[in-house]
């Protein structure tokens, strides 16, 4: 019988700790597959964040470096400068990247640091129990926004892909989602391109991936996928914001 699906060698056999229905797992799988397909596992060095994906260092089948909250792009910079031929990526949540680590991501992009960032936007702080993130939608409830996010009080949600696409050093910027199979395929394509941009030495690449947090959104996994589609995509439009011509 023909095998149609198997475990990617880009991931270890360690079982994920993610909540049922959480799309962090899908995004891990995509990144693992891409690293394997590009044949770069042997020279990949990943940087894990602080957030629900803090244990990413146990899941990717390559050298991994755990970073302080928000500092992954700086750690990745140090690694890439020492090993310019390696393939360096950061995997970061929205609290990690868009709040405490905004300076680090902006400046890594600004320097055109030849790294790839996988930015998981689930519009909430997952790991610490559902507090408001910079990406929490207007009206969305969070444990620190019990009446729903109010623009007057907390500002509008930060659009990271749009913001980074204004920076010249950011050569590849795309926003994707993983709420259905068609979009998962598009997400994989974008992530692959982002790594190719690094491999060709173009500069910084980031893929913002809209992701669910059923646990802290207080929804079932399927309700969460629907909520993402109906609420997040209108505010965070999918699509490519920047691509160097060579990889188009």
């Amino acid at each position: 019988m023909a095998k149609v699906f198997e475990r990617t060698n880009g991931l270890t056999t360690k079982p994920f700790h993610y909540c049922p229905g959480c799309t962090h797992g899908i995004i891990h799988r995509i990144v693992g597959e891409v690293l394997e397909e590009l044949g770069v596992l042997g020279k990949a060095i990943g940087v894990a964040p602080v957030g629900c994906s803090v244990f990413a260092y146990d899941y990717f089948n390559c050298d991994m470096h755990e970073a302080a909250h928000g500092r992954a792009p700086a750690v990745a910079t140090g690694i890439k400068r020492v090993h310019p031929d390696s393939v360096v990526f950061t995997y970061q949540g929205d609290g990690d990247l868009a709040s405490i680590g905004t300076a680090e991501i902006v400046h890594a992009a600004h320097r055109g640091e030849k790294i790839t960032t996988i930015f998981v936007n689930n519009a909430i702080y997952g790991m610490t129990g559902g507090q408001m993130a910079p990406t929490t939608l207007i009206g969305q409830k969070a444990t620190t926004a019990p009446y729903g996010r109010d623009e007057d009080h907390a500002g509008k949600p930060l659009k990271v892909a749009e913001m980074l696409s204004t920076i010249d050093g950011a050569k590849f910027v795309e926003r994707v989602s993983v709420h259905n199979p068609a979009n998962i395929r598009k997400a994989k394509k974008a992530i692959k391109k982002a790594f190719e941009v690094q491999l060709s030495g173009e500069g910084f690449g980031i893929v913002e991936v809209l992701s669910t947090c059923p646990t802290n959104w207080g929804k079932t996994p399927t309700e969460s996928l629907k909520w993402l589609e109906e609420n997040m995509i209108p505010y965070y439009p999918l699509g490519n914001f920047r691509t160097p011509e060579e990889v188009e």
């Binding site: 596992l41 470096h65 755990e66 970073a67 302080a68 140090g78 020492v82 680090e104």
Partner: protein
């Protein structure tokens, strides 16, 4: 190679490069700017990398990444900048990575001033970062000693997989003295087979990490670090001491302050007062053993610092109540005056200041 006249900050850079440091990440702050400037000029010539980070927070995390990937790496800053680096230093210590951090101390708290001070003693020896960690702290008092210790710092960092801090005050950074670059002693440095430099498909993945969610695992890790700290205490504690055994008064001072204190001691000796000196060269580990030689008959210890009194806590712990401990300090960028120190010593020797 003979002696060459160099400015402190540049001599530190030269020593680092001689020790094989290839990577420098920093952010400008007075009074240490000549050091990153020197590195930006010289590192490209040896195929190294200088990168000016967007902040001290980023700089130390770049150091964290580079150290984890197996490089010899250094950063430097001055007091408020080191405060920002404490987060990263805690992670580097937790993940057991080697690196060298230079702090050319200026007055504080807050933005403070830009003149020499020693008011970061607590920050350096107690750790401004979180958790049970220690790192080696060297406090040189001459430029020759500074270059010797900077060169050795890289080896010590590698041997024990620990961050090493070299503390100089603004005076060390700014003054000029002749220096000679000598090979440090040979040490047992193991290959960095733990580094994240890519598996090349030839080994299992390496993980650099300071997270231990299981409390038992974290306790084991912290006790393992503590064991290493004990070995460092035994092997790497350094100090200069003289005339301690039969002194009327023992002065304790480090760095630039110790030079002023030596002048004061010479003046006292001319007047027939016997003054001993203990000059810690490592602030951590603190040279407790030097204090064992102080006789119970000594009238008192005088600790002199460019702070309101921080090292004095370690002096009191070391002498454990056997001899009274007095303090003379200037701070805010003021340097102690030898005549004032002579006055203090005379008071103690005359029994005026006891109890």
């Amino acid at each position: 190679m003979g002696k060459i006249l160099m400015k402190g900050n540049e001599a530190i850079g030269a020593a680092a490069i001689k020790a094989g440091c290839k990577y420098f990440f920093g952010y400008p702050i007075t009074p240490q700017n000549e050091l990153p400037e020197y590195m930006s000029r010289e590192l490209p010539k040896v195929d190294g990398v200088f990168l000016q980070a967007e902040s001290e927070v980023a700089a130390i995390n770049m150091v964290y990444g580079a150290a984890g990937s197996g490089a010899r790496v250094m950063t430097s800053s001055s007091s408020p900048g080191i405060a920002l680096k404490q987060e990263g230093i805690s992670y580097i210590a937790g993940a057991e990575l080697p690196c060298v951090i230079v702090n050319i101390v200026r007055g504080g708290p807050g933005l403070g001033g830009i003149q020499p001070a020693q008011s970061d003693y607590y920050q350096a020896t107690r750790g401004g970062g979180n958790g049970d960690y220690r790192h080696v702290v060297y406090a040189p008092s001459t430029l020759q000693e500074t270059v010797d210790l900077v060169m050795e710092a890289f080896d010590v960092a590698d041997q024990y997989r620990i961050p090493v801090m070299v503390i100089g005050d603004g005076m060390i950074g700014q003054m000029m003295e002749p220096v000679e670059f000598k090979e440090p002693k040979q040490r047992d440095i193991k290959p960095k087979d733990w580094a994240t430099d890519g598996t090349k498909g030839e080994r299992d993945p390496n993980i650099i990490n300071s997270l231990f969610i299981d409390p038992q695992e974290l306790e084991d890790h912290v006790f393992k670090l503590e064991k290493k700290h004990e070995i460092i205490k035994q092997n790497e504690t350094r100090y200069e001491a003289y005339n301690v055994e039969d002194a009327d008064v023992v002065a304790v001072a480090y760095g630039t302050t110790s030079r002023v204190v030596k002048n004061a001691i010479a003046k006292c000796e001319e007047e027939g007062i016997k003054v001993g000196l203990i000059r810690p060269i490592t602030l951590w580990p603190f040279p407790d053993e030097a204090f064992e030689k102080i006789s119970d008959k000594t009238k008192g210890i005088l600790t002199v610092e460019m702070s309101t009194g921080q090292m004095i806590d370690d002096v009191k712990i070391a002498i454990n109540g056997r001899v009274p401990v007095h303090f003379h300090g200037r701070t805010g960028g003021m340097v102690p005056n030898p005549n004032d120190i002579v006055e203090e010593i005379k008071k103690i020797a005359g029994g005026e200041n006891n109890g």
